[in-house]
Structures are given as C-alpha cells and as structure tokens.
Amino acid sequence: MSTSQSKRRISNGAAFMIAVFVPITIFLIVQLFSDPAVFLTTILKSLAMGSTYAIIALGFVLIFKATEVVNFSQGALAMIGALFISFLVADETIPIVPWWSEGNLVPIRNPIYDLGLPSWMAWGLSFIVALFFAALIGLFLERVAIRPMIGQPLFSVAVITLGLEISLRVLANDSAKLKLRNTNTPWSGKGFNIGDNFLYWSFFAAMIAAAISVVAVFLFYRSKLGIAMRAVARDQEAAMAQGIPIGRVFAIAWGAGAALAAVGGLFATEPPIKQTGAVDAETSLVAFRALPAVILGGLDSVQGAILGGLIVGSAEIFAGQYLSGYTSVLGAGYPLVIPYVVMIIGLIVKPYGLFGTEEIRRV
C-alpha cells in the first residue's frame, strides 16, 4: 500500500468516524442533562458489561497469541468454569464423574467450608480452586484435541474448537442436569440506590476483576514464559529452534485461557448480563456476545481486548437504554445486533482491529 493510499484511507476513516460519532455524542449529552441518574447508571452498567466482555476477550487473545487459533469453545469453558464455582460454593461439594457412575456427578464435600472461615473467605478460596479446575480442563483439551494438530491448517483447528464447544456444552448440561445453579457470590443481589436506580455491587466486582485480569496478563507477558509465548506466536519454527517447548506454551495458554473464561462465566451470570446470579444453559452464549469485542480490538492485542470490550459493552447497554422506543423500527432483539454493527464500523476503519497486527489472518 502506498503512502498516499494509506493517508487517503485514514482521511476517509476519520470522516466516517466523525459522521458516526458526532450525532451519537450530541444525543448522549442531551440524555445526560435530561436524567443524570439514569445516565450515570447506564455508564456504570456499560463499564461492567464491557469489563465482562474484556475478560472473555482476554481469554480469546491469550490462546490466539500463542496458537494463532480462535478458540470457539471459550463459551463452553466459561459455562463449565461457572459450574465449578456453583458446585464448590453453592453445593459446597467437589464434583467428580467416576467411571462407575454412568456419567453422573458424584459430589465430595468441599473441605474449605469445614475450615471455619468467614463465608466470604471460603467463597474466595473456593473460587480460586474452581479456576484451577477450569485450567485443568483447558490443559486436558489442549493435550487431547489441539496438540495433535500442531502444524495442521489453522482452519481445521478452529473447527475442532467449534466441535469442542458443542460437545462440552452438551456434556455439562447433561451431567449437571443444568437448570439454574447459583454462584452465591458474596455480593449477589446486593448494591445501593442512585435515585430510583439500583446499582449492583456486581458491576464494580466485574470492573475490579477485569483490572486484575489485565494486570495479570501484562505481568505474564513480561515473565520468561510469557516471552516464550510471544516468541512462539511470532514464529513457531524459530521458537522451536531456540529450544522453546511449544507444547508446553500451548498448554499454558489454554489453561490460562480457560481460567479467564471461568472468571468471565461467573460475571456472565450476574447483572448487568443476567439478573439471576445463576448458571444456566445460556451462560455459554456470552462468548459469542463478546466475539465482536475481540475482533474489534484485534485478535492478538491485550489492549484491544480491553478497549474492544468496553466499546462493545457500552454500545449494547446504551442502545438498549436509549433506543428502546424504536423497537417497531429496529426490531425487539436489536441490542444483540449492536455489537456486530459496531464491529463492522470499526473494521471498515481499521480492518485488522483497533490494535491488531496487520499480518494477522482472521478466521
């Protein structure tokens, strides 16, 4: 691409963005002054929704940066992680499926709840154990389904992850006989009022969890293992020649990705995404809702995951709040379309995503 072509594209992109965002900004300013309490609530809901999307997007990015594969099973991993949390904290059991039980779960008492700890601390420790179990699932999947495909076409691997998504979801639904399983978070259903509007503590918990996740991922990429992962992402053959164990790097990426999915799965059961605070069969769909955030931010960018999540989450919440009077024109399900519209607009301007590396091929 020549310099003049590039400049023209930027110029067209800027004009396009101005045309889209100036009217939106004016509209939002009007809303701010017409009802500040609702506007503030909407902003906080947007940040919470965006934070949850960002956590899930980080899982996608982590796995993609190491393996160049879009892991379509992130949604099922999110649901399974949230299920682990539910078993450990609501039932106070550790679920196992022994070979003699014909696929049925056999619960074992969660010993954390026998330590006499304050309930919030027992919940926190159990949450960490649940993330560990989720990571084990990720490691297992990588070992049996992904590692044998090293060197094979990436499209085939991506389709395998799609198969994993369906299989895991069905297995989880069947073995847990899933209806509604509470996650019993210490902040469940709690919050405070601004005017008539109730702000859930889960909004702030999601933001804090997203911040911790981002910091953890940044620190990880600065560690020796993280540097090895970046090297693998850049050139697998060169990394192998340098003695970097690619299999181990893949496994860690999948384990960490699955743990992040579990965190995202937990917040996918809470306001503003769900009101029940419970895992259900729809929990896994959150990954597909977050997918536009991943693409918009750039598949291989941590910063992109965060920004993409926040943009997409905000667009969804603001559109749901302020365009509700136009369902006869937009259709009743329009909030679900909004993230994809935002993604398309973003890709028109930045085809590789806001922070994506231009060489990256999208799947």
Partner: protein, 475 residues
C-alpha cells in the same frame, strides 16, 4: 351427557387402597373386569365406516352387569392390546419437562394394566420423539396413523402448538383424537380443534383470571403486558388485554410479541418508564427473570404475574428470591403437588412413590396423570358403549365428562365451547422464606415456595367470557 366415572372411581379407590397396603394383588380384583375379545376382526373396519363384522367378545371372564355383548374395534387395537400414541418432545427444548409428563402417563397406565387394563386389553404406550420439530412430528404421525394393529387408537400427547396444528386435518381424516401439550385457545374452536382434546383453561382465560385477581387484590389502575410472539405469548397477551379493557385498566405499555432473545434492556426501560401497577407476562422463566430483575433493580414496584410457565420455582434459588416474594403471584392450571388433599392428589403421590420411588418428583407428573386420566376415561366410555374403534372413541369423547378428582377442574367437550371451556385456574403466593433449595415439590421434606392463594379460581370476567374463536390467530 354420559358420566364415565362409574368404573373409574372404584378403580382409583382400589389403587389407593393397594398403594396404602403396598401390595400388588389388586390386579385380579378389578371392578371393571373387561370382556376379552378372543377373535379380533381380520380386516378392521375402515375408520370412517362402522365395522360390518365387529370382533366379538365371546366369553367375558368376569362380565359386569352392563357390559355390552360385543365390542367393536379397529386400528391400534388387538385382542389383547390397545395402543395409544405419544408424539412427544424427548430430545428438544422441552425434553426435561415432557419426559416427566410421559413418565407420569407410564405410571398411570402401569396401574391401569395391573388392574386389568381397559376392555380386557393391556394399554400400551407407543412413544416417538418429535424433538420439537414439525417435520419429525409429521413423520412420526405417519407411523401412528397406520390402519392396522400397528397404528394407534388415540394420542395422549402431542407436544407443541404448531406441531399439533400441522396434524389437525390428518387427525380429522383418520378419526384420531390428540391431547395437546399446549393451552392455546384455538383448540376449543371446532373448526380447528374438533379432534383435539384440550385440557384445563386456555392461556387466554388464564390471563383473564390472573389480571383480574391482581387488579382486585392490589387495587391496580394501570397494566403493562409483555409477551413472546406466537400462539403461547400472544394468546396470553390477548387475554390480558381483554381483561384490562373489561376492568378499565389503562395499558401503559403494550409489549405483545416484543420479547426477543438476548438482552432485555429495551423492555426493562419501557416498563420502568411506564410505571404500571401490574405487569402480565407470557414468556419463559429465564427471560422473565431478566425483565423482572432488571425492572425491580430500576425501582419498578409493580405486582407481577404471567401465564404458566413464565415462572419457575427454581428462580427462588437465585438472587431474585426476595423480589419474587414481594412482587410475584404464580398462576397455573392445576393444583400443585401436595397443594390439596384430594383423591387425585393422593393417587398421584402414592402411585409415584410406589412405582418410581427414586424419581425426582415434580408437578409435571400431575400433568402426565391428567392426560392419562383423560385418555383412560374416554377409552372406558367407549368400551362401555361397545365401540373402541377410532370413530367410537371420537364419539365417546364428544359426550364424556372427565373427573380429575381434585387435581384440576373437571372437563367436558359436549355442546358449544361456551358450555365447556374451563374457566378456573390456580393462583399461588410466592414465599421465599419457606422455599427449600433442594425441593422439587412441596411435601414433608421441603417446599417449592408456592402457597395456594386462590383456586380453583374463576373471576367474573372468565365466568362471563363468551368464546367466539381463538383469542389470537397468527397472521
């Protein structure tokens, strides 16, 4: 009109006694010991013609005084078996619900067969999975409709409104009856549902009762109506609108058919802006939870209710429990497990405990029993009339009166729909304080948090409602 319970009530009484005694020997003591047809007709009579040479019931083993000498039968019936069909969703979206309803029927007919069956024949349930898919439902139907012993004589389950609607012409052509697992008001319309054995009140009538109950109990002046699109959602919404108009309630938000998948923020926003006194919903429990929870969080303090199954007691196991206690009234068509001490309730509980002691009990088994009781009593009426051909069963249906023994309002289909549509429903207060997280029914071990507030309840609107056709017809 012919009461058909004369043989049925002793059978049930025997079942209860047998269950109480824990014995199985009641089978030989059936008060309705039927005639055995030793030689069925080689060539069954065509369904639209009476059998010219009906099979003779030669020597009844234990002939009751009024047992007819001859018994006509044709398709789906042999000299020792009566086959009834279930075109049921066993692997689709309603599989968990329907599987329990089907199991309820299985338990009921195990009891019937143990006591001698119907007309000396064992009742065999032929169950095919429609996977909640209309083409699969129609393909299954082709197997059921066979004009031979391999066909069925009656459908005791036809899952799904569009699925059942797709077979109404064939049902009429084949003289087959079907019990639908839907409460669409169109089934009472003879033009649509002449061969459809609807049980309990319709969505439309349920809405009328629910809205009137809420309006009068909570002194409401405004209402919001929110529903899914389609027969379920919009039949319920239309009933709520009829009630609102009759009661003079202002509809401050009309969300008929407005619910779509995913994020429900637009509906929540509209509800909160409208500030209704009551909200009537026709949707699924998960969608209801999103709209209800989101609205309550934004300060809406309305009273809520909705068509069954908008609400599920499982929601009491979530963060919404306290809000549901404060703002929700649960509406449904039948008595819930353990909600009364009727003969029918004792029968369901004792038979389930006896025959499926390891099952996770639920109110779905009551629905299974209601369907099975309907089929059984119609079959018995047909047998009493000496004709268990498909046409004979259709005739028996048109004059039958079904006794649900306190599980639900009794039911007939005789005369004009206004003479027989069911106008009573049940309303329950939701009380999270008595809810037991592991409970699946209310019994000595726990509670699902539902306390009977009114029922069988028929408000003045439902009582005075003149049925002139379906409340909702899809465009």
């Amino acid at each position: 009109m012919k009461k058909v319970t004369k043989g049925f009530a002793p059978l049930v009484a025997l079942a209860l006694v047998a269950a109480a005694c824990g014995g199985d020997d009641a089978a030989d003591e059936s008060a309705d010991a039927p005639a055995a047809a030793e030689e069925p007709a080689d060539e069954p009579a065509a369904a639209d013609e009476p059998a010219d040479e009906p099979a003779a019931a030669d020597e009844p083993a234990d002939e009751p005084a009024d047992e007819p000498a001859e018994l006509l039968f044709d398709y789906g019936v042999s000299d020792d078996t009566i086959r009834i069909g279930l075109n049921a969703d066993l692997s689709g979206p309603f599989a968990s619900l329907v599987s329990q309803i089907v199991e309820g029927q299985e338990v009921y007919f195990e009891m019937v067969n143990e006591m001698g069956g119907v007309a000396g024949r064992e009742v065999e349930l032929v169950i095919l999975d429609n996977a909640y898919d209309v083409p699969t439902h129609l393909a299954n139907y082709e197997e059921f409709r066979l004009e031979s012993e391999e066909g069925v004589v009656f459908f005791t389950q036809s899952t799904g409104s569009p699925h059942t609607a797709a077979t109404v012409d064939a049902l009429a052509e084949d003289n087959l009856l079907a019990i639908p697992l839907t409460w669409y008001s169109g089934w009472a319309d003879p033009d649509l549902g002449a061969n459809v054995v609807e049980i309990n009140a319709t969505y439309c009538v349920e809405s009328m009762n629910g809205v009137q109950y809420l309006a009068e109990t909570f002194d409401a002046e405004t209402i919001a109506i929110v529903s899914l699109a389609g027969e379920y959602g919009q039949d319920g919404a239309q009933g709520a609108k009829l009630a609102a108009e009759a009661l003079g309630l202002e509809i401050v938000y009309d969300g008929e058919g407005a619910i779509a998948g995913g994020d429900q923020t637009p509906i929540v926003t509209e509800l909160v802006a409208a500030q209704p006194d009551i909200v009537w919903m026709t949707t699924t429990p998960t969608t209801f939870a999103e709209i209800f929870g989101g609205s309550v969080a934004q300060g809406l303090q309305a009273q809520w209710s909705g068509n069954s199954p908008t609400y599920s007691y499982l929601l009491l196991n979530t963060a919404l429990a306290d809000a549901l206690s404060a703002y929700y009234t649960f509406s449904t068509y039948t008595a819930l497990w353990g909600a009364n001490d009727s003969e029918g309730m004792q029968l369901v509980i004792s038979e389930m405990q006896k025959r499926r002691p390891d099952a996770i009990f639920s109110d779905n088994y009551i629905r299974g029993f209601l369907e099975a009781m309907t089929a059984h009593q119609i079959l018995m009426a047909a047998a009493d009339a000496g004709d268990i051909t498909r046409a004979g069963i259709l005739e028996a249906f048109q004059s039958a009166e079904i006794d649900f023994m306190g599980l639900a309002p009794n039911q007939t289909w005789a005369g004009d729909p206004n003479d027989y549509i069911v106008r009573e429903t049940y309303l329950y207060d939701v009380d999270a304080s008595i809810f037991t997280p592991d409970a699946t029914v209310s019994d000595a071990d726990g509670s699902t948090g539902s306390v009977l507030a009114a029922g069988p309840y028929a408000g003045s609107l439902a009582e005075g409602f003149t049925y002139e056709g379906p409340c909702f017809v899809a465009g």
